[in-house]
Symmetry: C2
Subunit: 349 residues, 2 copies
DNA sequence: TTGTACGCGTTATCAG
DNA sequence: CTGATAACGCGTACAA
């Protein structure tokens, strides 16, 4: 018989002697038919092995797929292994899941340079982090809902964290005990790729391009207040927030002659600060006596080790939740700003 | 005009004065029409803002969506924040991406207890970790390709790591210097939830149910060879591989009176071992003099701190790649076993 | 090499 | 409350 082919709604209707519309209603609009009939249809359906309306056909017909795509600025490999991005994703997933939606993962750095066609099946898009090429967003269905996180797209809602005040706050905390030589380690702040010392030749990205610029502005404001001329404070830059990339830059800093080596390092991320912590320990530097360190993010790894990291905790999960709620229309799609919290650990008491 | 509605293939065909088949061929089968005509069609298409065949309609017609779903045994929140699961996912994503496929994330612990309908749009399924309820898999399209990782489904291909020999190997290494009191910390090994000491009353899961049982068998084999009766070696169990859940159990172990406290702890995961490391340091215990520790997984966090963890490195990323290649039919879908590597750090030299 | 016609499985509309 | 029918947008035999 028709044993090979999957059973369809139409087959079931014929089998039951009712119309396809009625079967469809039994699954989608209980109020459109008598409970008795509905019971019978659902019962027979599961007996005959009909699993319910086909998702592909349904999505063609209704125009919606109940799939939400997250487009990550970085590669999937990097993002999935980055605690902050992962937390964001888990916030998104939590809300989508509760609403019966699923999560499609995309990266702006796809193999072919453009998104796979299947991407356009999504009902909405959450864009996390600055896209390397703006063109990519043009390939998306024009009228699909879109929310960005940690950067802005003209005319679109976004979710942010109060980067500038947060960094002002943590720098102020650190500067209460005046350092002899403060230093700053940035993350992807220069227009030109740069792994190492930032010189006046480098052009810095603007605050609308990257959150790390906002963070730097906060640091500088606090430094200025504390009597340090910002342009006298040495800065280093790191291109990628991973140990292998951070290590040489930080090693270079720690291996400076003692009279040049910073005794306070304000870092743009916990990953950077933790790498500095590890490398400092290996060199026998005492934390915080010889070197004080601050981070940003508040990732678990920084809190579950000793010394604990002094850092700014951002609720990345909540950022994801909000983005997801906006996409689903659960909350109004308007710019949102999350507060952060200063965490004082032993790395900079 | 028809400015509100998205342009369709049919619209474009009419506009160009060719048939829909020709336009379709221009996108899908370049060999079916003259290069000149194809150029013209593609050119006009992008000029008129036609983005190519609609993914939903195409998937209905062809039956394939170019979406692969990964079903995670744990919640998405947990999995996304777990380095080992994240690495697995990034391996999957890497291969899918290169093949023009996308990744749909599902969890066996969805809100409603069953998978959302959109899940069935996937062309294939990768199941990671033992499903809490086997029924869930019955709801999947019966003939869709399916590969499991880290556990087995009858009649389906799977990807594994050589858990038993790996654990035999690391235990042997640790036991070369005989401990006075060895101990084992398991991960979700008991049928009944148990956070703490494992007693004879507990029933252990079988090796076909969980990889941690295979690991335990490896530990026991080495212990026996070293002259320790396995049932005399104390075991603890932990229900979830996170700091908050591990902490009380491990604190309980470390706070035992000195003559009962283990001086060697074989841990089922790096997360557990790292938690033990942190808690031991906080108590002033010297590693490895007072306490030696081994882990499993080889996560970055364990290698980028000091003391480095002695552990078994499993290539979780490669596990993901292989699963993805099997699903896509790039390699034969047959059971696969990956080798591991012993890493000797300072936590158990 | 190009065009015609049908069907993929569903849902919305509207008439009974 | 129920049923017939027309889309949804596309791929592909098959005919020209």
């Amino acid at each position: 018989m028709t044993h090979s082919r999957r059973m369809t709604l139409k087959d079931l209707a014929r089998e039951l002697g009712v119309s396809t519309a009625t079967v469809s209603n039994a699954f989608n609009r209980p109020d459109q038919l008598s409970p008795a009939l509905r019971e019978r249809i659902l019962g027979e359906a599961s007996r005959l092995g009909y699993r319910g309306p086909d998702a592909k056909a349904r999505s063609l017909r209704t125009g919606r797929s109940r799939i939400i795509a997250v487009i990550l600025a970085e590669s999937l490999t990097y993002s999935l292994n980055d605690p902050v991005a992962s937390e964001f994703l888990s916030g998104v997933a939590e809300v989508l899941d509760a609403q019966g939606h699923t999560l499609l993962l995309l990266s702006s750095r796809q193999a072919q340079g453009l998104l796979p066609g299947s991407a356009s099946m999504a009902d909405g898009f959450i864009v996390y982090g600055l896209m390397p090429s703006g063109d990519l967003l043009d390939t998306l269905p024009a009228q699909a809902p879109l929310v960005s996180a940690d950067f802005d797209i003209a005319g679109r809602p976004s979710v942010h964290v109060d980067d500038e005040p947060a960094c002002y706050g943590i720098a102020r905390h650190a500067l209460r005990r005046p350092p002899r030589r403060p230093g700053i380690i940035n993350l992807r702040l220069t227009a030109e790729p740069c792994n190492g010392r930032v010189t006046p030749d480098h052009t810095l990205l603007g605050p609308e391009q990257t959150i790390t610029r906002s963070r730097l502005i906060g640091f500088h404001r606090a430094l200025e207040e504390a009597g340090f001329a910002p342009d006298q404070v040495p800065m280093w830059n790191i291109e990628e927030n991973t140990f292998p990339v951070c290590e040489p830059v930080i090693a270079g800093i720690l291996d400076l002659p003692e009279e040049e080596r910073p005794d306070l390092l304000l870092c743009m991320s916990d990953r950077i600060a933790l790498t500095a912590l590890t490398l400092a320990e290996r060199r026998g530097l005492r934390i915080p006596e010889d070197l004080r360190l601050t981070g940003f993010d508040g990732i678990a790894e920084g809190q579950y080790r000793s010394p604990r990291l002094t850092t700014v905790r951002q609720d990345s999960t909540e950022k994801g939740r909000i983005a997801a709620r906006m996409i689903l229309g659960l909350v109004p799609a308007e710019p949102s700003l999350l507060a952060t919290e200063l965490i004082v650990g032993e790395s900079c008491p």
